[in-house]
């Protein structure tokens, strides 16, 4: 499992100059200022009712990851279509299959453990851009499917336990987790797992309670409630960055066309590394 370093060194040939260590543009705030996230050292939980604009944010993060240098994507999407466009460049793309999901989470946890051992051996506590290690972004859309619908109760619990491990370990070793779900109440994900997510994005909710579940207790009483977002205003959300106050943002929107264009471009610039090349590999190498 320690082979991640050599493979990643050979992994990324050319890039558009982005990196997961760069601030990630997700939209604008009420003052018209761009909002950036440093997802790399945080985990983000995205929630809100269907049609609220969650997938826009998820795809923004995914697109940034796809175009980033030395970045691997692990995508879990029970709905297939949200993260499906990125399947060719993802190191793992898992549909509604909890066995595969559990297996990939296990692998990720081993990588995380190995990385910490490596960090320990190098007398360090945190991964930095110069380490040459790839950033492994795990993106889960429709988390509820994996934690409540698919598989047996035991599998669902194992999935939640593994995810909790990844979320708590991944922070400092370059393995952030992005999870999206509709309502992260205790029956979907345990509160102990929910509270590990440093960043929260609450898209429109129907009730104060739902908003509180996403952002954390007490915010709705202070006036920060995603239930006051208009149903027609897709993409508007409250973003809670760690230790701060929620602020209203509008997530950048990517049309299906945009998403596929970015995915195609990302696949093109990543061609030597992707397991599934589009076209013959030698052609691309000559072209490069």
């Amino acid at each position: 499992m320690t082979t991640t370093v050599p493979t990643s060194a050979a992994a990324v040939p050319v890039g558009p100059g982005l990196s997961m260590f760069d601030p990630l543009f997700i939209g604008i705030d009420e003052f018209g200022q761009p909002v950036y996230l440093d997802v790399i050292y945080r985990n983000i939980l995205i929630a809100g009712e269907p049609g609220g604009g969650k997938s826009g944010l998820v795809n923004n993060i995914c697109g940034h990851g796809a175009l980033s240098d030395n970045t691997r994507l692990v995508l879990l999407d029970a709905k297939l279509v949200e993260l499906g466009p990125w399947r060719d460049i993802a190191d793992a793309f898992i549909g509604p299959d909890i066995d595969e999901a559990i297996s990939v989470l296990r692998r990720l946890l081993i990588v995380a453990t190995n990385r910490y051992t490596w960090l320990l051996a190098n007398r360090r506590r945190k991964l930095v851009p110069g380490d040459g290690m790839s950033v492994i972004v795990t993106i889960i859309d429709e988390l509820a499917m994996f934690s409540t619908v698919l598989g047996t109760k035991q599998q669902q619990e194992e999935f939640a336990a593994l995810l909790r491990g990844l979320v708590s370990l991944g922070r400092a070793c370059g393995m952030p987790v992005v999870a999206a779900t509709q309502r992260p109440s205790w029956d979907i994900i345990p509160a102990s797992l929910r509270d590990l997510f440093g960043y929260r994005a609450a898209f429109r909710c129907t009730s104060l309670n739902s908003s509180n579940i996403i952002l954390g207790q007490g915010w709705a009483e202070q006036g920060y409630t995603a239930s006051d977002i208009s149903p027609t205003n897709q993409g508007a959300a409250y973003l809670l960055a760690e230790g701060g106050v929620p602020r209203r943002i509008k997530a950048a929107y990517l049309t299906d066309n945009d998403i596929y264009s970015i995915a195609d471009y990302a696949a093109w610039i990543r061609r030597p590394t992707t397991g599934v090349p589009a076209g013959s590999r030698t052609d691309w190498e000559i072209a490069a």
Partner: protein, 310 residues
């Protein structure tokens, strides 16, 4: 004034206009008395001490009293009119604005012919009204003036303050894209928590959509920032810069997918598994109810019936 007459006239005291509330008025009278006594005694004594080095102590005392009493009276007057001064202070921007505008108008009217005056006024009013950004700025700043008064109304009307009825200091305000931001310095007796429970009422009083309260200072809990929101700005679609960094001419890459052909409900066979699962409780039920007698005897007619039922 008799007590019955205000009651008869619906709770309003007749013939007087309430500029300062009764509670504030009372406390102001008490404070004024205290201010008079303290100032008179302290200034009088100090003056007497100083005067004693020049004159006989008794003369010095009289001089002290002569200086102390008028100073005390001045202090009394100051405290007594303080609520009015505060009221004037609250309306300072409006007063100055009004005086300034009026002065300008009078000066203009006096020094130019009527046509020119009207032309200048029409230009001064019309141009900002037509140019959208300027108009917006003017409206935004006007709201800033209004909202400070509305917040004061909130504090005076339904936010219970301290015993002396002193209101928070409503500091400056400035427009934001969504509304206004007002800085407030709370007086003893209030906290941010108290205000959070009344956000909806404050929003109503300010003619706004929502109000958020944040601490404006890390070190001082009294220093708050009110974010008054009266318009939704995040309605337009925001594009992503990722679209600009890509080359749209990149070749399409899509790994082949095995697309299922059963895309409609009739294409999916009704699962045969459901029959046994339905059958299980069905067989169990007769088993529990009738099996006790049947298996041993197993009469042919009875079993036929049961199988028919299944």
């Amino acid at each position: 004034m008799s007590k019955s007459s205000p009651r008869r006239f619906g709770g309003k005291s007749t013939g007087t206009v309430t500029v300062i509330e009764a509670k504030v008025h009372r406390s102001s009278a008490r404070n004024a008395k205290m201010a008079f006594i303290l100032t008179a005694v302290i200034v009088g004594l100090l003056a007497a001490v100083v005067a004693a080095s020049y004159w006989h102590p008794i003369v010095a005392l009289i001089v002290g009293a002569l200086i102390g009493v008028p100073t005390g009276a001045a202090a009394w007057l100051l405290v007594r009119v303080w609520p009015v001064l505060r009221l004037l202070w609250w309306w300072t921007p409006e007063t100055f604005l009004g005086v300034g505008l009026l002065t300008c108008w009078v000066q203009l009217a006096n020094h130019t012919p009527t046509v020119v005056t009207l032309l200048v006024v029409a230009l001064l009013v019309g141009v900002p009204a037509v140019i959208r950004p300027v108009r917006r700025q003017v409206i935004a700043w006007t709201w800033c003036l209004i909202v400070r008064h509305r917040l004061r109304v909130c504090f005076a009307q339904f936010i219970i303050a301290n015993q002396s009825g002193s209101l928070p200091l409503i500091l400056w305000s400035r427009p934001t894209p969504v509304g206004e931001r007002v800085w407030v310095y709370l007086r003893p007796g209030l906290s941010a928590k108290d205000l959070e429970g009344r956000l909806d009422k404050i929003a109503v009083t300010c003619h706004a959509s929502t109000v958020l309260i944040e601490r404006a200072s890390e070190n001082n809990a009294a220093y708050l920032r009110f974010d008054i929101k009266r318009r939704e700005v995040l309605t337009a679609t925001v594009g992503s810069p990722l679209v600009d960094v890509i080359d749209p001419a990149a070749p399409v890459s899509a790994s082949p997918l095995t697309v299922p052909t059963a895309l409609d409900l009739p294409d999916i066979d009704a699962p045969t598994i459901t029959l046994p699962t339905q059958g299980k409780p069905a067989t169990k039920k007769p088993a529990t109810s009738a099996n006790g007698s049947k298996p041993a005897a197993s009469p042919s007619s009875d079993t036929d019936d049961v199988s028919d039922w299944i």
